[in-house]
């Protein structure tokens, strides 16, 4: 486009020109082309340099993210959360799930929390998930980071309860505490009491069944010890996996991640 009038002059209107027939910004366009014609080489050099810096910045940011993420493997995600890898590409950190939870279970992480900044998580020992039948948090998610199609809360898979220290567990000491068993919303399925004879004594031992436990965290919340002996861990941390050497036994289904089922 050509500049119809030299800069600084205001010639009388041309015969044919009417309001609205020309609305492009001629002066600016002309300025741009002339300056880039003069310094095309500079411009290309500058662009290449900037592109290099952008790539470096991208790699640095990527590394930073990987470091930040390695510390957060313990965060419990809301019900219906898709696989952690995909979760971080989907969740926009809007907090609609947090707002939808009637029990204020969920929080958005801030700097220094165990989850990536801005993402939803919960701490079982503080406020567990109350396993609302209609899963309002997952239904509220606008991005699919939480699976809104989840049929009901029993498919949630927030994590897996694990008896992390049976030596402090009161049941292992021969008492009949069994709080974790009694508070479980799906007791007798997710957690059962098994009669066992240990060192000649009859005991009832809480046993979590990995295909049924949702990771709601009630057992961890209510464990009477100062530090809970039963804790909910994200599945990759809490669950074992049968390896290639299955010690002579055929695979029983135990040890395969619930997510995959």
């Amino acid at each position: 486009m050509k500049n119809p009038s030299p800069i600084g002059q205001h010639p009388a209107p041309a015969e044919s020109a009417r309001p609205g027939t020309e609305r492009a910004p001629p002066a600016r366009k002309a300025e741009k082309t002339s300056s880039s014609a003069v310094s095309r080489r500079d411009f290309l050099g500058g662009a290449a340099k900037s592109a290099g810096v952008a790539c470096l910045a991208a790699v640095a940011l990527d590394q930073f993210i990987r470091t930040a993420r390695s510390t957060e493997a313990k965060a419990l995600r809301p019900p219906g959360a898709i696989d952690e890898e995909e979760f971080l590409s989907a969740c926009v950190r809007c907090g609609l799930c947090v707002r939808a939870c009637p029990y204020d279970t969920l929080h958005l992480a801030t700097l220094g929390d165990s989850a990536a900044i801005g993402t939803p998580y919960f701490v079982a020992r503080e406020t567990p998930c109350f396993m609302c039948h209609d899963v309002p948090c997952a239904k509220a998610c606008p991005t699919g980071a939480l699976n809104a199609e989840i049929p009901n809360i029993r498919h949630a898979d927030m994590g897996l309860a694990v008896l992390v220290d049976h030596e402090t567990c009161l049941n292992y000491k021969g008492m009949h505490c069994s709080i974790c068993y009694r508070v479980c919303p799906i007791r007798n399925e997710a957690i059962t009491l098994e009669k066992q004879t240990i060192k000649g004594r009859q005991m009832v031992i809480p046993v979590v069944h990995s295909t049924k436990c949702t990771g709601c965290g009630h057992c961890e919340k209510h464990c009477v010890l100062e530090e809970a002996a039963i804790r909910v861990l994200p599945r990759p941390l809490g669950q074992g996996k049968a390896g290639r050497n299955n010690a002579g036994r055929g695979l029983t289904g135990h040890g395969s991640l619930k997510r995959g089922v």
């Binding site: 009417r18 910004p25 002066a27 910045a57 590409s89 929080h107 700097l111 929390d113 990536a116 900044i117």
Partner: protein, 303 residues
């Protein structure tokens, strides 16, 4: 110090002349409107948690207005795509709504009329003025475009929405809406950057969120126009007040359109506020009065 002197001292350099000639309120009319708008937007999100009155849920990244209208941030959306997430329909509608909105009212209105970080950076700039801090580490204004590129590339590499691991804009607004915790650190860093290191360092040089809206803004309808430029006395107040002064020159000193067409313009109207003779006003790309040079509009031919 009496009240009048205090008000004078509080007024930024760029606005003193206009405030003297037209009154303090008149010289701050759009500034006041902007602060009101920023407060109102946050208030809409806060009536829910504070009063149980749910007008909007969520935050600026994605929200739900009155339980129906979904809104979603296009820059986050693009990173999410780069990270390999297949979006669901709801977020597509939200992104389309927001994009259409910024096409209509001007790309970076988000920056000046909505973004809470804008209050932080404007305050830093004002304080810089008042403390007479002139140290200025020069930065290229295009840096933010490279940050956009880097954020999208990093999203692709890491499979996450990369910029959200740092973004002060979402940290602050999420902080106000959901409780901020240690996130204050990031916001304080932005304040310090603008105060001690670079004049208008964050919004005008680095922030990719604003830059992304700037890309949309290039084509948006509502623009500030230097409609009365022939009356300009070269006092320079608008250049001092503007966070992106380079955008004013073509409209004010050129012979083409009166409109400030650069996508960098935040439509903040600081130029309108600070001018003591009303050179500037809001216009649209479609009106021939604003879009054409004055040689086309001065003698109106009879129709």
């Amino acid at each position: 110090m009496n009240r009048k002197a205090a008000v004078e001292w509080l007024t930024s350099d760029a606005r003193t002349y206009a405030a003297e000639r037209r009154g303090w309120l008149y010289a701050h009319r759009f500034w006041l409107a902007r602060r009101a708008s920023q407060a109102l937007v946050l208030a809409i999100f806060l009536t829910g948690p504070w009063l149980g009155l749910w007008i909007a849920r969520g935050n600026f990244a994605s929200s739900e207005i009155l339980g129906v209208l979904p809104l979603a941030d296009p820059f986050i959306f693009v990173q999410s795509l780069a990270a390999g997430h297949r979006p669901i329909l709801l977020s597509l509608i939200g992104v389309a709504t927001i994009t259409a909105f910024y096409f209509l009212v001007g790309g970076r209105v988000y920056c000046s009329w909505v973004c809470p970080v804008n209050v932080v950076t404007d305050t830093a700039h004002w304080l810089r003025d008042k403390l007479g801090l002139t140290r200025d580490r020069k930065l290229d204004r295009r840096t933010r475009l490279w940050i956009i590129a880097a954020a999208i590339l990093a999203s692709f590499l890491s499979g996450t929405i990369a910029w959200e691991f740092l973004n002060p804009v979402s940290t602050l607004q999420r902080g106000i809406i959901f409780g901020i915790g240690a996130g204050w650190g990031i916001v304080a860093a932005v304040f310090m950057l603008d105060l001690f290191v670079t004049r208008r360092g964050w919004c005008s040089h680095l922030c990719p969120v604003g830059a992304f809206y700037g890309l949309i803004g290039k084509h948006s309808l509502v623009r500030v126009s230097a409609i009365n430029r022939t009356a300009c006395t070269d006092c320079g107040a608008c250049f001092k007040a503007c966070p992106e002064p380079h955008v004013i020159t073509p409209a004010l000193k050129g012979t083409g359109t009166h409109l400030i067409v650069s996508g960098d313009c935040t439509n903040c109207a600081a130029c309108i506020d600070s001018c003591y003779i009303d050179v500037f006003e809001y216009g649209t790309r479609l009106s021939s009065r604003h879009a054409a040079p004055e040689r086309f509009i001065e003698p109106q031919p009879a129709q």
